[in-house]
Every structure is written in C-alpha cells, then in structure tokens.
C-alpha cells in the first residue's frame, strides 16, 4: 500500500514538473504577443495622441494583465517618483523588476532594454521609427517562440509523465 502511494507521488510530481516547463513554452509567445499589443498602443498614443509617457504607462497598467501590467505600473511609478533620472533608467529598472515573473527569455529582454534607450527622448517621427523597429524585433522573437512551443511543449509534458513512470518501474 505504502509503495503504491509513493509511486503515485513520484509520478504526480514528475508530471507536474513536465507540465510546468511545457506551460512556460506556451506562455512565452503569448506574453510576447501581449507586449506587441501594448507597443501598438504606445505608438498611437505617442505619435497621434502626443500624451505624456507616464499617463500612457498608467493607462497600459490598468488595461493589461500580468506580467506586462507590472512592467508599465512600475515604469509609471519610476517616471513620476525618481527625481527626473533618465527615461532609460526608469524603463530599465521596471524591466529588471518584472523579469523574474515572466516566461520570456533573454532575446526579448534585450529588445526591450534596447528600446528603452530611445523612449521619450526624441520627436514623434523618431519615436515611431523606434517603436516600429522594436515591434519587428519582438515579432521575430515571437516566431521563434512559437516554433519552440510547437517543438517542445508536448514533448515536455510527455517526458514528465514518462520519466515518472520510468522511476516508478525502476524502484519497483
């Protein structure tokens, strides 16, 4: 009886690990897409609306879901409280603080950080160019993430269950 309970536990936990990794593969393209959506809003608000950056960030923080929500919430907070330090620094700090809670990987982070260097510091035409470039880069990463998802998501799930089974069989 004890053996049976132990075996179930092993199987369950190993499957859980597999499902968790698979979930990360599924989440990554979704989060990148979410970011792409916010960049479109950013583009409209900056080039046509000419609204203040902190207002735009607050608005995005209100309408988006986690984890993108906390990126903009943190950025808005940094912009209005950090005694005028550069926009890049506010943005970079926000990216760093939200990153552990995302499923995204380094390439996307680099795109975001790089984008921050130009955020807010030039005229509208220039801002539009930079936003569009960041969007193209993010779209590329999204493609890669989707590919990885197709390739690894199911595999991770099956591997989790199978590895659990293997261990159970070996122990028995």
């Amino acid at each position: 009886m004890m053996k049976l309970i132990g075996a179930t536990l092993i199987l369950l936990s190993s499957s859980a690990v597999g499902f968790h990794i698979a979930h990360r593969y599924a989440e990554r393209p979704r989060q990148i897409r979410q970011l792409l959506g916010t960049f479109s809003v950013l583009e409209t608000e900056i080039t046509y609306g000419a609204r203040r950056l902190d207002e735009i960030c607050e608005q995005l923080a209100r309408r988006e879901k986690e984890p993108v929500r906390s990126l903009f919430a943190q950025c808005a907070k940094n912009l209005s409280t950090l005694d005028g330090v550069s926009t890049y620094e506010c943005w970079q700090r926000a990216v760093e603080s939200m990153w552990p809670s995302t499923s995204m990987k380094t390439p996307e982070k680099e795109v975001l950080i790089d984008f921050g260097k130009t955020l807010g510091v030039s005229d509208r035409a220039d801002q539009m160019q930079h936003i569009q470039r960041a969007k193209v880069n993010l779209a590329t990463e999204e493609g890669r993430a989707l590919e990885a998802q197709a390739r690894y998501e199911k595999m991770c799930r099956s591997l989790g269950i199978l590895a659990g089974l293997l261990i159970v069989i070996l122990i028995y």
């Binding site: 900056i46 080039t47 000419a50 609204r51 203040r52 950056l53 902190d54 912009l79 005694d83 005028g84 330090v85 550069s86 926009t87 506010c90 955020l119 807010g120 510091v121 030039s122 005229d123 509208r124 220039d126 801002q127």
Partner: protein
C-alpha cells in the same frame, strides 16, 4: 512658493531654493538655471547667485553650477519624460506649466529649410513665476471707461512692468462686471499663453466667468476667429506691433468689437515711431492710452491719455 514649480526642480536645486530666506523666496520672479554657470534667482529687490549651501551671493564664482546631469533631470521633469509631446513648445522656446508659470528654454537649435524645427540639448532654463494680482485694475476702471462705456485701450510699457498682469486683471474685471459696467463677453487671443496661462486649453489664471481663450493662436488670425465664432464684446490681445496685427484691429473695431491691447514702449512718442502702431494712433482707434513704468515699483501708472492725447490725472500706486 507655488507647488507646481517645486516638482519641476531636481532635488539638489530644490534644496537650495528652499533654504533661501523667506524674504527672497516669497518674491521670486525668475529662477535661472544654466549648465556650467551659476544658479541665479531674480526678485524685484535684486538678483543673486546661489551657492551650493543655499546662500545668496553676488559673486558668480561662489555660485553653484548645475552640471549636464542636473539639466537633463530638469528637462525630464519639465517634459514628463515625453519630449515628443513638446515639439511645439520646443519650437517656440518656452513651456507653460500648471499655475500659468512659464519656462523659457535655450540650447542648440535645429533648423530645417530656414525654419526652427526644435531645440536639442537644452542647457538653459528660465522659470518665470507668474503671479496673478487680482483687483489692480479696479481703481483704474473709471478712468478707462468714460461714462461706463467700453473704449479701445492701448497699454504701453517697457518689459517687466506688469503689463500682462494688468491686462489680465482688466479682462477679468470686464468679464465679471463693475459698478458702472455690466458684465461683458470677453475673448482673449493668447498667442504666447501669457495672459491666461493655459495648460491643455484651460486657463490657469482667473480671467473671469464670461471669458473665452484662444490659446497659442497667432494674433491677427485669432482676432478674426474670435469675432466669427465667439461674438465677444471685448477682445484682449497682447503685444501688437506687426502690420497684419493692425489690419486685423481695423477689421475688429469695424465689426463693433472693443479692444484692449498692449505695446512695448516707454512713451507715446516711442510708440508713434513704430509704423504699424502710428497708423492706429493717427486714425484715432484708441479711446484711452495707459503708460506703465516702474518709478514706484512694477506696475506704476505713469500717465493716462484720452483719444485727443489730453493727459488725464491719475494718482496711482505701484500695482505689482
């Protein structure tokens, strides 16, 4: 001092200004920040440099010199990290902020096709603190409105003598109504956002309940727009002087609208030497001329003339 200015100053500068003696702090007219040169404050009682400990000094070498980082911070605070939203302001060289205060900006100008595109590397700021002085127009009104009727008025004054302050209060007084004159519809064409100090189209100064403001609009065009769209009884316009201004004025007064306006100058003679203004004076457009100076502080009324250049006696005080 006003809180809307406090949050534009980087902490280092804010600390220095805050530690100024109250006598100076309460009278601040301008705070001047220039990269690599000493921080300066200007008040009606004099101007000083500020040392790093927040003491006033008249020796430039003792003054605290803001560095590039401080100026960058200040620009970030002024623009709210959104330079793209300030394109128009950077082209004009000043920003109006909440409370009607204005910040003049200088730096490297980017020119395209002979036209100023915008400012890059902003390295100099002049924070001009606006103070609305309500009620300064009251004692003047009987002289400026013979038999309780509106007449066209030209305010003549050198810079910094309270011309705009007086014009603003006159607009408010007419809009509210006085003992001899019922309240009138007033239209302000505020080319440089000085009279009403609009932020986002909303006047930051009290310009009266029946006053419409056309903010940032060229004067000549704005006067015509105002007449067509808002049917004002009184038009208020700042600093006329160009040819097209005087043409628009002729149009306006023939449309039955009254006009309060200002011109730079120290005396009637000086004003008459400027071609656009001379014609207006010759044609007898204005019913009253008021000359401001600062013999007894800014806003001293030096003289009032009627349409035939008769000197009307007025014993006034400095009005701020």
């Amino acid at each position: 001092m006003n809180s809307s200015i406090w949050h534009l100053l980087p902490l280092s500068i804010k600390g220095m200004i805050e530690s100024l003696p109250n006598r100076i702090r309460s009278q601040l007219e301008e705070i001047r920040v220039r990269e690599g040169r000493p921080l300066e404050v200007i008040t009606p009682i004099g101007s000083w440099f500020i040392s790093a400990e927040g003491r006033t000094t008249s020796r430039p070498e003792e003054g605290y010199c803001p560095n590039r980082e401080t100026c960058g911070k200040m620009l970030n605070l002024i623009s709210n990290h959104s330079l793209y939203a300030m394109e128009e302001e950077l082209r004009r060289g000043y920003v109006t902020i909440q409370g009607g205060h204005r910040i003049g900006l200088v730096g490297r100008v980017v020119v395209e096709g002979g036209q100023v595109q915008h400012l890059r590397e902003v390295t100099g700021f002049n924070i001009r603190i606006a103070r609305q002085v309500k009620g300064i127009a009251e004692p003047l009104l009987p002289k400026l409105m013979p038999r309780g009727r509106l007449v066209n008025l030209l305010l003549i004054s050198p810079p910094q003598c309270g011309k705009t302050t007086l014009l603003r209060d006159l607009a408010r007084a007419v809009s509210v109504g006085t003992r001899s004159l019922s309240s009138q519809k007033v239209g302000i064409v505020d080319e440089r956002s000085e009279i009403a100090g609009c932020v986002g189209g909303v006047p930051q100064h009290d310009v009266g309940p029946r006053t419409d403001v056309l903010d940032g609009c060229p004067k000549a065009e704005g006067m015509m727009m105002m007449i067509r769209s808002m049917s004002p009884d009184l038009l208020v316009v700042d600093e006329i002087g160009r040819q097209e201004d005087s043409e628009a004025i002729f149009e306006a007064i023939h449309a039955g609208v009254h006009l309060f306006t200002t011109a730079h100058g120290r005396s009637m003679e000086e004003v008459c030497r400027r071609p656009a203004l001379a014609r207006l004076v010759e044609e007898g457009v204005f019913g009253r001329y008021l000359i401001l100076g600062r013999t007894r502080g800014p806003g001293t009324v030096e003289a009032i003339y009627d349409e035939r250049m008769n000197h009307l006696v007025y014993k006034g005080e400095g009005v701020g």
